[in-house]
Amino acid sequence: MRKAFPVEDLARDGRFVRVPLAERFDDPRTARVEQGAGKNKRGPGRLTPDRPDAPDAARALMHGIFVGEIQALEGAGRTCWDFEVGSGNGEGIAEVPFELKLDMARQCWDEARHCEISIKLSAHMGTELGEFSENTFLYEAACNPDPVLRLTGVNRALEGLAIDVFNTMREFGDIAGDPVLEFCEDWMLADEVTHVKMGSDWLRKLTANDKPRQERALEFQRVVDKLFSLGGFRGEEEDSPVRLARRFRELAGFEEAEMDTLAEIAKEAREEMEARVEANRAAVAS
């Protein structure tokens, strides 16, 4: 078996349909415009039970969580396989400490459980596997050949997003009066805090004497964070569908300044998305 497994070879059964992220964003049907108080509000809006499309939006989000969990499982599994055991202190050397591999194996088990939970929750919410499309940007972040960048991109950026998403879904379950959803999301949230903390701890340990590598890892995280902000999907605006879960991120090793930067990145991503949506609307109108 190869040491690096390309995203296009990810194995799936016939139910799964892949749609590239760019194609999804360029789809004019994503240009949802709401009129409100004399100004245009764009974007999908905060997920609340009183929204007419709340059941479908929640089901779509749950399916997105499910495919994200599969890819997180696959990414952690590949980190167990792709690297040899060593000090992990030399950039470009495909080595990691033994304990890092143990953490990734533990994460495999956690992500496998999250898949199981997501499948049960999807059924609970009336969704079939494969009903919504899959994009593979989560696994792509797990393909970085430098283990430090891989862990920073996946465990801090991706799993950090999972903290935000699970906290949002947990609140949605509470407001919607769905104790099953709230219960499951709360348990998964606990695991995600653990995974993000693993990322924070390994970033600190492996780059303690290599500040340039640490900076490259954090830059990679910023790039992934911007992508994961999904054009305003995650942010601190009142109508952001997924809110930044500052309290849980702090437990996972994020500093206040890092979260402020993340909020800025999310704002930028939202503005760029709004500009793109406006262009798409104009194209549809013409």
């Binding site: 078996m1 194995a11 696959e74 167990c80 591999k101 495999c108 496998a112 459980r113 898949c115 199981e116």
Partner: protein, 230 residues
């Protein structure tokens, strides 16, 4: 704690009355057939093979299209990682302060076996992947762990015994899971033959290695009673 030994007016047994150091139902004995060095050597081999197994199970997750198999591999990956951690922590307790020194295969033949077992990658090779892990390697681990469990000193090597019991509980569960996944995947004569062929190929390589700790992995059935307990 007042030192009162009465309840309801009746006096309890005298706390100073000598008792046997071993309870009547504890029949453990000192003798075992492994020295500290031999136990450490085997534990180092165990750690090496557990690492190879959890690494490949993790790597295979992305390569198998069957969702149920994908999730079980992810779960089992952690079991074997945890076993490798147990053995890693046991080595310094067996006087090996540099655990990496003993984290080795017993011979080159076992390396050849692991190379062949971890070779299948394609999405159509799930049967081969599972046959290697669950019909060849895990049964061999169960055999070697059971031999160690039944032959080491139940008093002096109790910490190894405790870890062996934890590991064996997982091995039996995972073996059953893997065997049932295989049975559910094999639906045609051709698929059955694929499983048989791959198992036979790996079994030959493992035979050449003598088991996961080399020759003597499960003792020597032709030695006399006196020799085997020397």
């Amino acid at each position: 704690m007042t030192g009162t030994h009465t309840t309801g007016g009746s006096r309890l047994a005298d706390p100073k009355k000598p008792r046997a150091p071993f309870t009547p139902w504890d029949r453990r004995e000192i003798p075992g057939i492994f020295t500290v060095e031999e136990s450490a050597r085997r534990v180092g081999n165990y750690k090496w093979i557990e690492m190879r197994l959890f690494e490949v199970l993790g790597g295979w997750v992305a390569t198998v299209p069957e969702l149920d198999v994908k999730l079980r591999l992810g779960t089992h990956c952690y079991h074997h990682a945890w076993h490798s951690e147990l053995w890693h922590k046991r080595l310094p307790e067996l006087r090996e302060m540099n655990p990496e020194r003993l984290t080795v295969p017993p011979n080159d033949e076992l390396v050849a076996f692991v190379d062949a077992m971890t070779e299948p990658e394609g999405p159509g090779l799930t049967i081969e992947k599972l046959a290697g892990a669950y019909r060849v390697l895990i049964p061999a681990k169960i055999a070697a762990y059971t031999y160690h469990l039944n032959n080491t000193s139940t008093i002096t090597d109790a910490p190894t015994i405790r870890s062996l019991k934890f590991a064996l509980a997982d091995e039996f569960d995972d073996w059953r899971d893997g065997e049932m996944m295989l049975q559910s995947l094999i639906e045609t004569e051709d698929e059955l033959q694929r499983a048989i062929d791959h198992q036979a190929k790996l079994q030959r390589l493992l035979l050449a290695a003598g088991g996961i700790t080399g020759p003597g992995s499960i003792g020597d059935s032709y030695s006399t009673q006196e020799e085997s307990h020397a």
